[in-house]
Protein backbone atom coordinates (compact mmCIF):
# COMPACT_ATOMS: atom_id res chain seq x y z
CA UNK A 1 0.00 0.00 0.00
CA UNK A 2 2.85 2.33 0.85
CA UNK A 3 4.47 1.57 -2.47
CA UNK A 4 1.20 2.34 -4.25
CA UNK A 5 1.00 5.69 -2.50
CA UNK A 6 4.57 6.49 -3.50
CA UNK A 7 3.85 5.57 -7.09
CA UNK A 8 0.71 7.67 -7.08
CA UNK A 9 2.64 10.63 -5.74
CA UNK A 10 5.27 10.25 -8.44
CA UNK A 11 2.59 10.00 -11.11
CA UNK A 12 0.93 13.12 -9.79
CA UNK A 13 4.22 15.02 -9.92
CA UNK A 14 4.83 13.86 -13.48
CA UNK A 15 1.33 14.76 -14.50
CA UNK A 16 1.53 18.20 -12.94
CA UNK A 17 4.89 18.84 -14.58
CA UNK A 18 3.07 18.57 -17.87
CA UNK A 19 0.04 20.48 -16.63
CA UNK A 20 2.19 23.40 -15.54
CA UNK A 21 2.64 24.41 -19.13
CA UNK A 22 -0.98 24.05 -20.10
CA UNK A 23 -2.59 26.88 -21.90
CA UNK A 24 -5.49 28.68 -20.25
CA UNK A 25 -8.52 26.45 -20.37
CA UNK A 26 -6.48 23.28 -20.04
CA UNK A 27 -5.89 20.46 -22.45
CA UNK A 28 -9.51 19.37 -22.24
CA UNK A 29 -11.02 22.77 -23.02
CA UNK A 30 -13.56 22.05 -25.69
CA UNK A 31 -13.27 24.05 -28.90
CA UNK A 32 -14.99 23.80 -32.21
CA UNK A 33 -12.41 22.24 -34.51
CA UNK A 34 -12.78 22.73 -38.22
CA UNK A 35 -10.84 20.69 -40.75
CA UNK A 36 -8.44 23.56 -41.37
CA UNK A 37 -7.58 23.63 -37.66
CA UNK A 38 -6.09 20.17 -37.63
CA UNK A 39 -2.55 20.65 -38.89
CA UNK A 40 -1.16 20.15 -35.40
CA UNK A 41 -3.23 17.04 -34.76
CA UNK A 42 -2.10 15.56 -38.07
CA UNK A 43 1.55 15.47 -37.02
CA UNK A 44 2.93 12.00 -36.53
CA UNK A 45 4.04 12.77 -32.98
CA UNK A 46 0.40 13.64 -32.13
CA UNK A 47 -1.04 10.27 -33.12
CA UNK A 48 -2.48 7.92 -30.56
CA UNK A 49 0.17 5.38 -31.46
CA UNK A 50 3.08 7.37 -32.87
CA UNK A 51 5.79 4.77 -32.18
CA UNK A 52 4.35 1.39 -33.19
CA UNK A 53 7.64 -0.49 -33.04
CA UNK A 54 8.08 0.48 -29.40
CA UNK A 55 4.47 -0.09 -28.56
CA UNK A 56 4.55 -3.56 -30.01
CA UNK A 57 7.64 -4.48 -27.99
CA UNK A 58 6.21 -3.03 -24.78
CA UNK A 59 2.89 -4.78 -25.15
CA UNK A 60 4.51 -8.16 -25.54
CA UNK A 61 7.01 -7.51 -22.76
CA UNK A 62 4.34 -6.62 -20.23
CA UNK A 63 1.92 -9.26 -21.49
CA UNK A 64 4.46 -11.89 -20.52
CA UNK A 65 5.01 -10.44 -17.02
CA UNK A 66 1.55 -9.34 -15.93
CA UNK A 67 -1.98 -10.73 -16.01
CA UNK A 68 -3.67 -7.77 -17.63
CA UNK A 69 -3.33 -7.06 -21.31
CA UNK A 70 -5.03 -5.34 -24.21
CA UNK A 71 -7.17 -2.24 -24.26
CA UNK A 72 -5.54 -0.32 -27.08
CA UNK A 73 -7.19 -2.30 -29.83
CA UNK A 74 -7.64 -5.82 -31.02
CA UNK A 75 -5.69 -8.14 -33.23
CA UNK A 76 -2.09 -9.22 -33.03
CA UNK A 77 -0.72 -12.70 -32.62
CA UNK A 78 -0.46 -14.85 -29.55
CA UNK A 79 2.54 -15.73 -27.49
CA UNK A 80 3.41 -18.79 -25.45
CA UNK A 81 4.93 -16.48 -22.87
CA UNK A 82 1.71 -16.22 -20.88
Amino acid sequence: MKALLNYSLLLTILFLSGCSTFKPGGMFAHEEVKPWHKAMLAEERMQLNPYPLENSADQKMFYSRESANGGQGIGGGGCGCN
Binding site: L11, S17, M27, L41, A42, P52, E54, S56
Partner: protein, 443 residues
Protein backbone atom coordinates in the same frame (compact mmCIF):
# COMPACT_ATOMS: atom_id res chain seq x y z
CA UNK B 1 -7.15 6.75 -39.33
CA UNK B 2 -9.40 9.63 -38.79
CA UNK B 3 -6.51 12.04 -38.66
CA UNK B 4 -4.79 10.50 -41.59
CA UNK B 5 -7.75 11.32 -43.72
CA UNK B 6 -7.76 14.81 -42.37
CA UNK B 7 -4.14 15.29 -43.13
CA UNK B 8 -4.49 14.04 -46.60
CA UNK B 9 -7.44 16.32 -47.09
CA UNK B 10 -5.73 19.32 -45.68
CA UNK B 11 -2.07 19.07 -46.43
CA UNK B 12 -1.39 16.41 -48.91
CA UNK B 13 -2.64 16.41 -52.44
CA UNK B 14 -4.00 13.02 -53.39
CA UNK B 15 -2.43 10.99 -56.09
CA UNK B 16 -4.77 9.05 -58.21
CA UNK B 17 -2.16 6.57 -59.32
CA UNK B 18 -2.06 3.35 -57.43
CA UNK B 19 1.37 2.25 -56.43
CA UNK B 20 2.80 -1.11 -57.13
CA UNK B 21 3.41 -3.27 -54.09
CA UNK B 22 6.66 -1.88 -52.80
CA UNK B 23 8.09 -1.62 -49.40
CA UNK B 24 6.98 0.97 -46.89
CA UNK B 25 6.24 2.02 -43.31
CA UNK B 26 5.77 0.46 -39.98
CA UNK B 27 2.65 -0.21 -38.06
CA UNK B 28 1.88 -1.59 -34.69
CA UNK B 29 1.33 -5.30 -34.36
CA UNK B 30 -1.63 -5.35 -32.11
CA UNK B 31 -3.45 -2.12 -32.67
CA UNK B 32 -5.81 -0.93 -35.26
CA UNK B 33 -4.63 2.64 -34.88
CA UNK B 34 -2.85 3.80 -37.97
CA UNK B 35 0.14 6.04 -38.44
CA UNK B 36 0.11 9.41 -40.08
CA UNK B 37 2.96 10.43 -42.30
CA UNK B 38 4.50 13.68 -41.16
CA UNK B 39 6.65 15.17 -43.85
CA UNK B 40 7.94 18.62 -44.40
CA UNK B 41 7.42 18.33 -48.12
CA UNK B 42 4.09 18.01 -49.76
CA UNK B 43 4.27 14.42 -50.79
CA UNK B 44 1.65 11.76 -50.55
CA UNK B 45 1.19 8.03 -50.85
CA UNK B 46 4.39 7.33 -48.97
CA UNK B 47 5.27 3.81 -48.04
CA UNK B 48 7.32 3.02 -44.97
CA UNK B 49 9.66 0.44 -43.59
CA UNK B 50 10.58 0.20 -39.94
CA UNK B 51 13.34 -1.84 -38.35
CA UNK B 52 13.74 -2.44 -34.66
CA UNK B 53 16.12 -4.34 -32.46
CA UNK B 54 14.98 -4.89 -28.89
CA UNK B 55 16.88 -6.38 -25.99
CA UNK B 56 15.30 -7.25 -22.65
CA UNK B 57 17.33 -8.69 -19.79
CA UNK B 58 16.15 -9.61 -16.31
CA UNK B 59 18.70 -9.89 -13.57
CA UNK B 60 19.41 -13.60 -13.15
CA UNK B 61 16.36 -14.64 -15.15
CA UNK B 62 15.18 -14.30 -18.72
CA UNK B 63 16.66 -12.35 -21.61
CA UNK B 64 14.95 -11.72 -24.92
CA UNK B 65 16.27 -10.47 -28.25
CA UNK B 66 13.67 -9.28 -30.72
CA UNK B 67 14.06 -8.20 -34.30
CA UNK B 68 11.03 -6.53 -35.83
CA UNK B 69 10.54 -5.52 -39.45
CA UNK B 70 7.40 -3.52 -40.18
CA UNK B 71 6.32 -2.66 -43.68
CA UNK B 72 3.48 -0.45 -44.84
CA UNK B 73 2.66 -0.24 -48.49
CA UNK B 74 0.47 2.64 -49.59
CA UNK B 75 -1.90 1.23 -52.18
CA UNK B 76 -3.39 4.63 -52.91
CA UNK B 77 -6.94 5.83 -52.31
CA UNK B 78 -6.33 5.64 -48.56
CA UNK B 79 -5.70 1.90 -48.68
CA UNK B 80 -2.72 0.34 -46.93
CA UNK B 81 -1.23 -3.11 -46.81
CA UNK B 82 0.86 -3.77 -43.73
CA UNK B 83 3.17 -6.58 -42.69
CA UNK B 84 4.97 -7.18 -39.43
CA UNK B 85 7.66 -9.82 -39.16
CA UNK B 86 9.02 -10.54 -35.69
CA UNK B 87 11.68 -12.93 -34.54
CA UNK B 88 12.43 -13.51 -30.85
CA UNK B 89 15.11 -15.52 -29.16
CA UNK B 90 14.45 -16.18 -25.50
CA UNK B 91 16.86 -17.71 -23.04
CA UNK B 92 17.37 -17.88 -19.31
CA UNK B 93 15.38 -19.03 -16.33
CA UNK B 94 11.80 -18.40 -15.34
CA UNK B 95 10.12 -18.92 -11.94
CA UNK B 96 8.26 -22.23 -12.05
CA UNK B 97 6.03 -21.72 -9.02
CA UNK B 98 7.96 -23.76 -6.44
CA UNK B 99 8.69 -22.17 -3.09
CA UNK B 100 12.12 -20.90 -2.27
CA UNK B 101 13.38 -22.91 0.71
CA UNK B 102 14.73 -21.14 3.74
CA UNK B 103 18.15 -22.55 2.97
CA UNK B 104 19.03 -21.59 -0.55
CA UNK B 105 21.90 -24.02 -0.99
CA UNK B 106 19.54 -26.67 -2.22
CA UNK B 107 20.11 -28.91 0.79
CA UNK B 108 16.63 -28.44 2.14
CA UNK B 109 14.98 -29.59 -1.05
CA UNK B 110 14.33 -33.26 -0.58
CA UNK B 111 14.25 -34.38 -4.19
CA UNK B 112 15.31 -33.55 -7.64
CA UNK B 113 13.54 -30.83 -9.50
CA UNK B 114 10.47 -31.27 -11.61
CA UNK B 115 10.78 -33.28 -14.75
CA UNK B 116 11.52 -31.23 -17.80
CA UNK B 117 9.03 -31.80 -20.51
CA UNK B 118 9.88 -29.24 -23.09
CA UNK B 119 12.62 -30.15 -25.46
CA UNK B 120 14.51 -27.13 -24.29
CA UNK B 121 14.04 -27.26 -20.55
CA UNK B 122 16.95 -28.03 -18.29
CA UNK B 123 16.07 -30.32 -15.39
CA UNK B 124 18.69 -28.92 -13.09
CA UNK B 125 17.25 -25.49 -12.59
CA UNK B 126 19.30 -22.35 -12.77
CA UNK B 127 22.51 -22.69 -10.77
CA UNK B 128 20.82 -24.81 -8.14
CA UNK B 129 17.84 -22.49 -7.86
CA UNK B 130 15.11 -25.05 -8.24
CA UNK B 131 12.35 -22.48 -8.19
CA UNK B 132 13.65 -21.44 -11.60
CA UNK B 133 13.41 -23.47 -14.78
CA UNK B 134 15.96 -22.90 -17.47
CA UNK B 135 14.77 -22.81 -21.03
CA UNK B 136 15.48 -21.51 -24.47
CA UNK B 137 12.97 -20.79 -27.16
CA UNK B 138 12.54 -19.03 -30.47
CA UNK B 139 9.46 -17.32 -31.79
CA UNK B 140 8.63 -16.22 -35.29
CA UNK B 141 5.51 -14.17 -35.95
CA UNK B 142 3.89 -12.75 -39.05
CA UNK B 143 1.03 -10.29 -39.10
CA UNK B 144 -0.64 -9.04 -42.28
CA UNK B 145 -3.36 -6.42 -42.44
CA UNK B 146 -5.25 -4.48 -45.04
CA UNK B 147 -6.84 -1.12 -44.34
CA UNK B 148 -9.36 0.15 -46.85
CA UNK B 149 -12.08 2.82 -46.94
CA UNK B 150 -15.58 1.45 -47.42
CA UNK B 151 -17.34 4.77 -47.83
CA UNK B 152 -16.26 8.35 -47.30
CA UNK B 153 -16.67 7.98 -43.54
CA UNK B 154 -16.37 4.24 -42.99
CA UNK B 155 -13.11 2.35 -42.98
CA UNK B 156 -12.32 -1.31 -42.45
CA UNK B 157 -9.20 -3.17 -41.38
CA UNK B 158 -8.81 -6.92 -41.70
CA UNK B 159 -5.89 -8.78 -40.25
CA UNK B 160 -4.43 -12.25 -40.13
CA UNK B 161 -1.63 -13.37 -37.86
CA UNK B 162 0.45 -16.43 -37.19
CA UNK B 163 3.20 -17.18 -34.70
CA UNK B 164 5.19 -20.26 -33.92
CA UNK B 165 7.51 -21.34 -31.12
CA UNK B 166 9.14 -24.63 -30.24
CA UNK B 167 6.09 -25.71 -28.30
CA UNK B 168 3.44 -23.17 -29.17
CA UNK B 169 1.44 -22.15 -32.21
CA UNK B 170 -1.02 -19.33 -32.63
CA UNK B 171 -3.09 -18.08 -35.50
CA UNK B 172 -5.91 -15.63 -35.70
CA UNK B 173 -7.97 -13.16 -37.63
CA UNK B 174 -9.31 -9.76 -36.67
CA UNK B 175 -11.51 -7.12 -38.20
CA UNK B 176 -12.06 -3.50 -37.22
CA UNK B 177 -14.46 -0.97 -38.61
CA UNK B 178 -14.35 2.75 -37.85
CA UNK B 179 -16.90 5.42 -38.56
CA UNK B 180 -16.03 9.12 -38.73
CA UNK B 181 -18.67 11.52 -37.48
CA UNK B 182 -18.96 15.19 -36.62
CA UNK B 183 -16.66 16.56 -39.34
CA UNK B 184 -14.26 13.73 -38.51
CA UNK B 185 -13.85 15.00 -34.98
CA UNK B 186 -15.39 11.83 -33.59
CA UNK B 187 -14.54 8.31 -34.65
CA UNK B 188 -16.46 5.29 -33.45
CA UNK B 189 -14.57 2.03 -33.67
CA UNK B 190 -15.55 -1.57 -33.14
CA UNK B 191 -13.68 -4.76 -33.76
CA UNK B 192 -13.66 -8.51 -33.32
CA UNK B 193 -10.77 -10.95 -33.13
CA UNK B 194 -10.52 -14.71 -32.94
CA UNK B 195 -7.33 -16.45 -31.94
CA UNK B 196 -6.56 -20.15 -31.72
CA UNK B 197 -3.54 -21.34 -29.81
CA UNK B 198 -2.04 -24.69 -29.05
CA UNK B 199 0.67 -25.54 -26.57
CA UNK B 200 2.59 -28.66 -27.41
CA UNK B 201 5.00 -29.81 -24.70
CA UNK B 202 7.25 -32.58 -25.97
CA UNK B 203 5.70 -35.14 -23.63
CA UNK B 204 2.19 -33.76 -23.59
CA UNK B 205 0.34 -31.72 -21.05
CA UNK B 206 0.29 -32.90 -17.44
CA UNK B 207 -2.72 -33.73 -15.31
CA UNK B 208 -3.86 -30.59 -13.52
CA UNK B 209 -2.77 -30.85 -9.86
CA UNK B 210 -1.20 -34.19 -10.68
CA UNK B 211 2.01 -35.10 -8.94
CA UNK B 212 5.22 -34.01 -10.60
CA UNK B 213 7.56 -35.31 -7.96
CA UNK B 214 7.62 -36.26 -4.28
CA UNK B 215 9.88 -37.54 -1.55
CA UNK B 216 9.28 -40.39 0.88
CA UNK B 217 6.77 -38.56 3.01
CA UNK B 218 3.71 -40.66 3.68
CA UNK B 219 1.05 -39.28 1.38
CA UNK B 220 -2.16 -38.04 2.94
CA UNK B 221 -4.55 -37.80 0.04
CA UNK B 222 -5.51 -40.79 -2.10
CA UNK B 223 -4.37 -38.80 -5.12
CA UNK B 224 -0.87 -38.74 -3.70
CA UNK B 225 -0.44 -42.49 -3.30
CA UNK B 226 2.21 -43.92 -5.56
CA UNK B 227 3.39 -40.40 -6.07
CA UNK B 228 6.71 -41.55 -7.45
CA UNK B 229 4.93 -42.88 -10.49
CA UNK B 230 4.84 -40.33 -13.28
CA UNK B 231 1.36 -38.88 -13.51
CA UNK B 232 -0.87 -39.13 -16.52
CA UNK B 233 0.00 -37.16 -19.63
CA UNK B 234 -2.37 -35.84 -22.21
CA UNK B 235 -2.10 -34.49 -25.71
CA UNK B 236 -1.65 -30.92 -26.74
CA UNK B 237 -3.43 -28.08 -24.98
CA UNK B 238 -5.70 -26.02 -27.17
CA UNK B 239 -7.49 -22.78 -26.50
CA UNK B 240 -9.58 -20.22 -28.33
CA UNK B 241 -9.88 -16.55 -27.62
CA UNK B 242 -12.64 -14.22 -28.72
CA UNK B 243 -12.14 -10.50 -28.29
CA UNK B 244 -14.44 -7.62 -29.02
CA UNK B 245 -13.82 -3.92 -28.69
CA UNK B 246 -15.79 -0.71 -29.01
CA UNK B 247 -14.21 2.69 -28.74
CA UNK B 248 -14.60 6.36 -29.37
CA UNK B 249 -11.89 8.80 -30.38
CA UNK B 250 -12.61 12.49 -29.94
CA UNK B 251 -10.79 15.60 -31.09
CA UNK B 252 -11.14 17.87 -28.06
CA UNK B 253 -9.49 20.96 -29.46
CA UNK B 254 -6.74 21.88 -31.89
CA UNK B 255 -4.05 20.32 -29.71
CA UNK B 256 -5.73 17.44 -27.86
CA UNK B 257 -7.14 14.11 -28.89
CA UNK B 258 -8.57 11.52 -26.52
CA UNK B 259 -9.72 7.92 -26.81
CA UNK B 260 -11.84 5.61 -24.69
CA UNK B 261 -12.09 1.87 -25.42
CA UNK B 262 -13.94 -0.97 -23.78
CA UNK B 263 -12.76 -4.49 -24.56
CA UNK B 264 -14.33 -7.82 -23.70
CA UNK B 265 -12.50 -11.09 -24.17
CA UNK B 266 -13.34 -14.71 -23.52
CA UNK B 267 -10.69 -17.43 -23.40
CA UNK B 268 -11.78 -21.06 -23.57
CA UNK B 269 -9.89 -24.32 -23.36
CA UNK B 270 -6.55 -25.25 -21.89
CA UNK B 271 -5.57 -22.08 -20.01
CA UNK B 272 -3.20 -23.84 -17.60
CA UNK B 273 0.53 -23.34 -18.03
CA UNK B 274 1.91 -26.88 -18.43
CA UNK B 275 5.32 -25.78 -17.14
CA UNK B 276 4.17 -24.23 -13.90
CA UNK B 277 4.30 -26.10 -10.60
CA UNK B 278 3.05 -25.62 -7.08
CA UNK B 279 4.74 -26.88 -3.95
CA UNK B 280 3.03 -28.93 -1.26
CA UNK B 281 4.52 -27.94 2.06
CA UNK B 282 4.47 -29.61 5.45
CA UNK B 283 4.03 -26.96 8.10
CA UNK B 284 4.95 -29.41 10.84
CA UNK B 285 8.52 -29.34 9.51
CA UNK B 286 8.90 -25.61 9.00
CA UNK B 287 7.00 -25.48 5.76
CA UNK B 288 9.38 -27.75 3.95
CA UNK B 289 8.46 -28.73 0.43
CA UNK B 290 7.36 -32.36 0.41
CA UNK B 291 5.74 -32.66 -2.97
CA UNK B 292 5.44 -30.84 -6.27
CA UNK B 293 2.21 -30.70 -8.22
CA UNK B 294 1.37 -29.31 -11.62
CA UNK B 295 -0.78 -26.23 -11.50
CA UNK B 296 -4.38 -26.15 -12.68
CA UNK B 297 -6.41 -23.16 -13.89
CA UNK B 298 -10.06 -22.87 -14.93
CA UNK B 299 -10.78 -23.61 -18.57
CA UNK B 300 -12.63 -20.34 -19.07
CA UNK B 301 -11.70 -16.75 -18.46
CA UNK B 302 -13.68 -13.59 -19.19
CA UNK B 303 -11.62 -10.43 -19.42
CA UNK B 304 -12.71 -6.79 -19.45
CA UNK B 305 -10.74 -3.61 -19.87
CA UNK B 306 -11.43 0.08 -19.99
CA UNK B 307 -8.67 2.06 -21.64
CA UNK B 308 -8.39 5.82 -21.76
CA UNK B 309 -5.67 7.66 -23.60
CA UNK B 310 -5.00 11.33 -24.28
CA UNK B 311 -2.34 13.03 -26.36
CA UNK B 312 -1.98 16.78 -26.05
CA UNK B 313 0.44 19.31 -27.42
CA UNK B 314 1.33 21.70 -24.63
CA UNK B 315 3.49 23.90 -26.83
CA UNK B 316 5.36 23.55 -30.09
CA UNK B 317 8.08 21.62 -28.26
CA UNK B 318 6.13 19.66 -25.65
CA UNK B 319 3.71 16.80 -26.01
CA UNK B 320 2.21 14.81 -23.20
CA UNK B 321 0.85 11.31 -23.80
CA UNK B 322 -0.80 9.46 -20.95
CA UNK B 323 -3.09 6.50 -20.60
CA UNK B 324 -4.89 4.57 -17.92
CA UNK B 325 -6.29 1.05 -18.14
CA UNK B 326 -8.56 -0.68 -15.69
CA UNK B 327 -8.64 -4.43 -16.20
CA UNK B 328 -10.74 -7.04 -14.45
CA UNK B 329 -11.59 -10.66 -15.04
CA UNK B 330 -13.65 -13.47 -13.54
CA UNK B 331 -10.56 -15.06 -12.04
CA UNK B 332 -10.58 -12.26 -9.49
CA UNK B 333 -7.76 -10.23 -10.97
CA UNK B 334 -8.03 -6.47 -11.15
CA UNK B 335 -5.32 -4.25 -12.50
CA UNK B 336 -4.57 -0.54 -12.82
CA UNK B 337 -2.03 0.56 -15.42
CA UNK B 338 -0.79 4.13 -15.83
CA UNK B 339 1.51 5.19 -18.63
CA UNK B 340 3.01 8.63 -19.06
CA UNK B 341 5.28 10.02 -21.76
CA UNK B 342 6.51 13.56 -22.09
CA UNK B 343 8.12 14.45 -25.39
CA UNK B 344 10.37 17.47 -25.50
CA UNK B 345 11.64 18.61 -28.91
CA UNK B 346 14.73 20.51 -27.90
CA UNK B 347 15.67 21.04 -31.54
CA UNK B 348 13.45 21.00 -34.62
CA UNK B 349 14.52 17.46 -35.48
CA UNK B 350 15.53 16.00 -32.14
CA UNK B 351 13.66 15.12 -29.01
CA UNK B 352 13.93 13.46 -25.63
CA UNK B 353 11.07 11.53 -24.14
CA UNK B 354 11.00 10.40 -20.51
CA UNK B 355 8.59 7.58 -19.77
CA UNK B 356 6.98 6.25 -16.64
CA UNK B 357 4.66 3.28 -16.35
CA UNK B 358 3.04 1.66 -13.35
CA UNK B 359 0.98 -1.49 -13.09
CA UNK B 360 -0.63 -2.71 -9.89
CA UNK B 361 -2.63 -5.92 -9.90
CA UNK B 362 -4.44 -8.10 -7.41
CA UNK B 363 -4.14 -11.87 -7.37
CA UNK B 364 -6.39 -14.51 -8.85
CA UNK B 365 -8.84 -16.24 -6.50
CA UNK B 366 -7.08 -19.57 -6.95
CA UNK B 367 -3.55 -18.24 -6.54
CA UNK B 368 -1.66 -19.88 -3.69
CA UNK B 369 1.96 -19.66 -2.71
CA UNK B 370 1.86 -23.38 -1.84
CA UNK B 371 -0.57 -26.12 -0.81
CA UNK B 372 -0.62 -27.30 2.79
CA UNK B 373 0.01 -31.06 2.99
CA UNK B 374 -2.60 -31.39 5.75
CA UNK B 375 -5.53 -30.60 3.46
CA UNK B 376 -8.27 -33.18 3.25
CA UNK B 377 -9.07 -32.63 -0.40
CA UNK B 378 -7.40 -30.98 -3.32
CA UNK B 379 -8.57 -27.51 -4.33
CA UNK B 380 -10.46 -27.28 -7.60
CA UNK B 381 -7.80 -24.99 -9.06
CA UNK B 382 -4.43 -23.82 -7.82
CA UNK B 383 -1.53 -21.91 -9.27
CA UNK B 384 1.60 -20.36 -7.81
CA UNK B 385 2.49 -18.54 -11.01
CA UNK B 386 3.68 -15.15 -9.78
CA UNK B 387 1.89 -13.46 -12.68
CA UNK B 388 -1.42 -14.51 -11.17
CA UNK B 389 -0.48 -13.16 -7.75
CA UNK B 390 -0.55 -9.69 -6.31
CA UNK B 391 2.25 -7.64 -7.79
CA UNK B 392 3.32 -4.20 -8.87
CA UNK B 393 5.56 -3.22 -11.73
CA UNK B 394 7.07 0.13 -12.47
CA UNK B 395 9.10 1.14 -15.45
CA UNK B 396 11.08 4.29 -16.03
CA UNK B 397 12.89 5.15 -19.21
CA UNK B 398 14.32 7.71 -21.54
CA UNK B 399 14.22 7.90 -25.29
CA UNK B 400 16.12 9.99 -27.78
CA UNK B 401 14.79 10.44 -31.29
CA UNK B 402 16.14 12.21 -34.32
CA UNK B 403 14.73 12.83 -37.77
CA UNK B 404 16.99 12.13 -40.72
CA UNK B 405 15.97 14.50 -43.46
CA UNK B 406 12.26 14.55 -44.15
CA UNK B 407 11.67 10.85 -44.66
CA UNK B 408 13.80 9.01 -42.14
CA UNK B 409 14.03 8.84 -38.37
CA UNK B 410 15.71 6.82 -35.69
CA UNK B 411 15.22 6.48 -31.98
CA UNK B 412 17.02 4.76 -29.14
CA UNK B 413 15.70 4.18 -25.67
CA UNK B 414 16.53 2.51 -22.39
CA UNK B 415 14.12 1.43 -19.66
CA UNK B 416 14.52 0.11 -16.17
CA UNK B 417 11.78 -2.18 -14.91
CA UNK B 418 11.21 -3.44 -11.40
CA UNK B 419 8.53 -5.88 -10.36
CA UNK B 420 7.65 -6.56 -6.72
CA UNK B 421 5.61 -9.42 -5.30
CA UNK B 422 3.45 -9.66 -2.23
CA UNK B 423 2.43 -13.31 -2.14
CA UNK B 424 5.44 -15.25 -3.37
CA UNK B 425 8.95 -15.70 -2.06
CA UNK B 426 10.61 -14.33 -5.17
CA UNK B 427 12.95 -11.38 -4.86
CA UNK B 428 12.07 -8.30 -6.89
CA UNK B 429 12.60 -8.72 -10.60
CA UNK B 430 14.83 -6.07 -12.13
CA UNK B 431 15.19 -5.73 -15.86
CA UNK B 432 16.82 -3.46 -18.39
CA UNK B 433 15.46 -2.80 -21.85
CA UNK B 434 17.26 -1.32 -24.83
CA UNK B 435 15.70 -0.62 -28.17
CA UNK B 436 16.85 0.97 -31.39
CA UNK B 437 14.37 1.73 -34.15
CA UNK B 438 14.78 3.14 -37.62
CA UNK B 439 11.98 4.22 -39.93
CA UNK B 440 12.26 5.23 -43.56
CA UNK B 441 9.51 6.56 -45.83
CA UNK B 442 9.58 6.49 -49.60
CA UNK B 443 7.39 6.54 -52.64
Amino acid sequence: MQLKNKKQMLVLPKHSVRHALTVATCTVLSSSISVVSFAEEEVSDLSKIGLSTFYYAEEGRVSVNTTHVAIENDLGDDAFLRANIIYDTITGASPNGRIIPAETNGGSIPFTSASGFSISINDNGSAGKRWLTEFTDKRAALDLSLEKPITRTLKGVIEGNYSSENDFTSYGVAGTISWDRNQRNTTLTSGLAILRESVTPASGTPLGLGVSNCNDTVPVLPEWENCNVTSTRFGFGRKRMFDGMIGVTQVVNQRTITQLNYSLGVSLGYLTDPYKLISVVDNSIDGEEVMILYEKRPDRRTRHSLYWKTVSQLSEKKIVDFSYRYFWDDWGITSHTFDYKYRYDYEPKSYFQPHFRLNVQSGADFFQRAIDSSITSLPQYASADYRLGKLSTYSIGLKYGHELGVNGSFAVRAEYIRQSYSEVDLPDMKALVYQGAFTFKFK
